[in-house]
Symmetry: C2
Subunit: 404 residues, 2 copies
């Protein structure tokens, strides 16, 4: 697998564009992605029962072949009532007309302020003026990655290349992360395009499995947004033999898709609102994968531990505490906890017994940007990895700011 | 019911003391509570499966008649392995010896740094020098309330008086709230004493029901500590006819206990780490009480909304979002949301439709210290109230500080 600096235009047959159409004050706020031929699509959507209008639209149309996706930032079209649903449909119809396809073959995504209806004049005009800018070059994809940003401090893209059935297969993606200064939701959007030929049920399965280990294992603040969406389009233009069983090609494809999802998911956390530290929590020896995931997520979500991380405080007691209320079963008397980074490695609890540790070494380890927390249980052979960030003054500042 | 400025010494037959014995640098760190005659006891303990040693001790002995409670702050005796369990027992034995009772009739509580063994020399000496200071006056009770504080900015006490069976019955309590600067856990401890004659099963039932509506409906940061404990001692010295069925006396007693629990619970949140605002979330029209509680707790726990509250931002979308991931079932299109305070009242969403609102009025409402969030559903007739606080720079500062 070759990993390279690509994006949603890296795979054959995909075009993208990013443009500033006035939904935000100055910055780019409109992205389009199109496929030369209708693509098989798969999606994962927020578990929040308050779903934004575009999420409802996409859930209804994800089983269709997809020609294009229209994405706007600046307004999430969430909590917008019946009007919001109509606006999502109108947006899809607008791009569909330009492409000469049916609106049912177009997906839409929005991110930004919630509870305010879209400015449809600007939005539809925006789709029309952005459409001619579509290109299959890297810069067009990079523009799209910029246009979906909200409080992100940098655009998030990646691509990988593998060989399947003697054919070059590419998977590229872009994501936006958590938060909007002005104002509202922590929304995660991710778009992945591939020229792989893969049957719908296998694409669904691969995406679901990849998301479970990546996007579902990250947290910035524990707030599950109304808009979270991960979409994959697979247009088959690599001309590999279509993957329609869980064969070796499927496994290679899934591994490549996992690499793309993991790269983008970790970038989202690393660029979490106000974050200064990235934590990677490894749980091993759990009774079940579910238990391992619960423990990792509970630690990455603990405000107390996140604040300690910001303070570079080796407060391992907060790790054990968060494990204890995770809902997973384990014997606290058998827990081992290790903190490590490029600055070194230190054991803080050894099979239930606290260790008197070298504060100087702990401090050196915690000065680094990326901190690994290793949690070893003795309940079984299951494991999981989760990613999180610290809780900082800037998180409070970003999210405490007035909407206007 | 008469509410007055009392504490754990208000009820007949209870003594208390608070003292500085050197577990903290300067402040009071040791509290004792004793009953003239062995008391019926009930307790509610943390749901965290990582339970501190004193919690395990108390859970094992709560069904015994209780003569006294020894409480220390400065060290939580949590995550302290086998030594911690032995230390809890030794502490109980020390107070028991002074009182001339069995160690099995003494409870212990600890709050403070975790993962460090107690300094038992100081602690046992502390129990011995504090014991002679026990008094049944209000000042002795006030000293005890100070001695259990950690990051609390003020001691939390209350008492109520009712008449049962022609006898004056008093319930008094004290609580400590969330967090330790130096360092670790957000621990909630509450001690309630009453001279009511009440049978053990009824005391258990009343406490359980009161805690469900009060202490279990507050949150500061969502971190469930290893040490959370609510204890009630009822020594029967009011000489009312013992409550042993759910009669009118039971209801009157429960109402009074509820008032004490609610007062102390709300004080804990109001004095939450770094908090500048108190929010009270009322959910009505839910399908079940469980759903109503889930929704209220999800809103009070949302970092995004807590930060918005700190910023005095009428970000009702974050309320709806938090409701959506609460796990409760409801139709978002039927939700009404109102914010109110002494500054006024404003409707932000009306049966699923966002309202264009007066930003000036919203700002005036949110400038107040106590903010009410009314959430009206159309799923049924169940309701719940929850309390929370805002997420502030000071929360991050308090919890990001180094342990030393």
């Amino acid at each position: 697998m070759k990993v390279f600096d690509g994006n949603v235009t890296s795979a054959t047959g995909f075009k993208a564009a990013g443009n500033a159409v006035g939904l935000k004050k100055v910055k780019k706020d409109m992205a389009l992605i199109t496929s030369e031929v209708p693509a098989v699509a798969a999606g994962c959507f927020t578990s929040n029962i308050v779903k934004a209008a575009p999420v409802l639209w996409d859930m209804e149309h994800i089983d269709n072949k997809i020609c294009g996706i229209a994405v706007n930032s600046g307004n999430a079209n969430a909590c917008t009532g019946e009007q919001g649903l109509a606006d999502a449909k109108t947006t899809a119809a607008c791009l569909a007309e330009l492409m000469g396809c049916n609106e049912d073959n177009v997906l839409v995504c929005s991110t930004g302020v919630i509870g305010v209806n879209l400015n449809m004049d600007k939005l539809l005009k925006g789709v029309k003026i952005t459409y001619p800018m579509l290109g299959d070059d890297a810069e067009s994809g990079a523009n799209a990655a910029q246009a979906i940003m909200t409080t992100d401090t940098y655009p998030k893209t990646i691509a990988v290349e593998i060989t399947l059935d003697g054919k070059k297969v590419t998977i590229g993606g872009m994501a936006k992360g958590s938060g909007m200064i002005n104002p509202n939701m922590a929304t995660m959007l991710c778009f992945i395009t591939t020229d792989c030929a893969v049957a719908k049920p296998l694409l669904d399965k691969a995406l679901k499995e990849c998301v479970a280990d990546t996007f579902n294992m990250i947290t910035v603040d524990g707030d599950t947004s109304t808009n979270d969406t991960v979409l994959v389009l697979a247009n088959g233009m690599a001309q590999n033999a279509e993957i329609n069983t869980e064969n070796a090609d499927y496994n290679a494809f899934k591994e490549a898709l996992m690499a793309v999802c993991k790269d983008l998911a970790v970038k989202v956390v690393d660029d979490g609102e106000g974050a200064t530290k990235l934590m990677e929590v490894h749980v091993t020896g759990a009774a079940t994968v579910e238990d391992a995931r619960k423990i990792a997520s509970s630690v990455t979500s603990s405000n107390l531990f996140k604040a300690a991380l910001f303070g570079e405080d080796a407060n391992w007691g907060r790790v054990l505490c968060a494990m204890g209320y995770s809902g997973a079963e384990f014997d606290p008397m058998e827990v081992t906890i290790v903190f490590r980074s490029e600055g070194g490695e230190i054991k803080l609890m050894d099979e239930g017994t606290p260790i008197v540790f070298d504060e100087e070494l702990a401090s050196k380890i915690l000065k680094e940007h990326k901190i690994y927390i290793d949690i070893m249980l003795k309940e079984g052979g299951s494991e999981a990895v989760g990613w999180g960030c610290d809780l900082t003054y800037d998180y409070v500042k970003i999210n405490g700011d007035y909407r206007s």
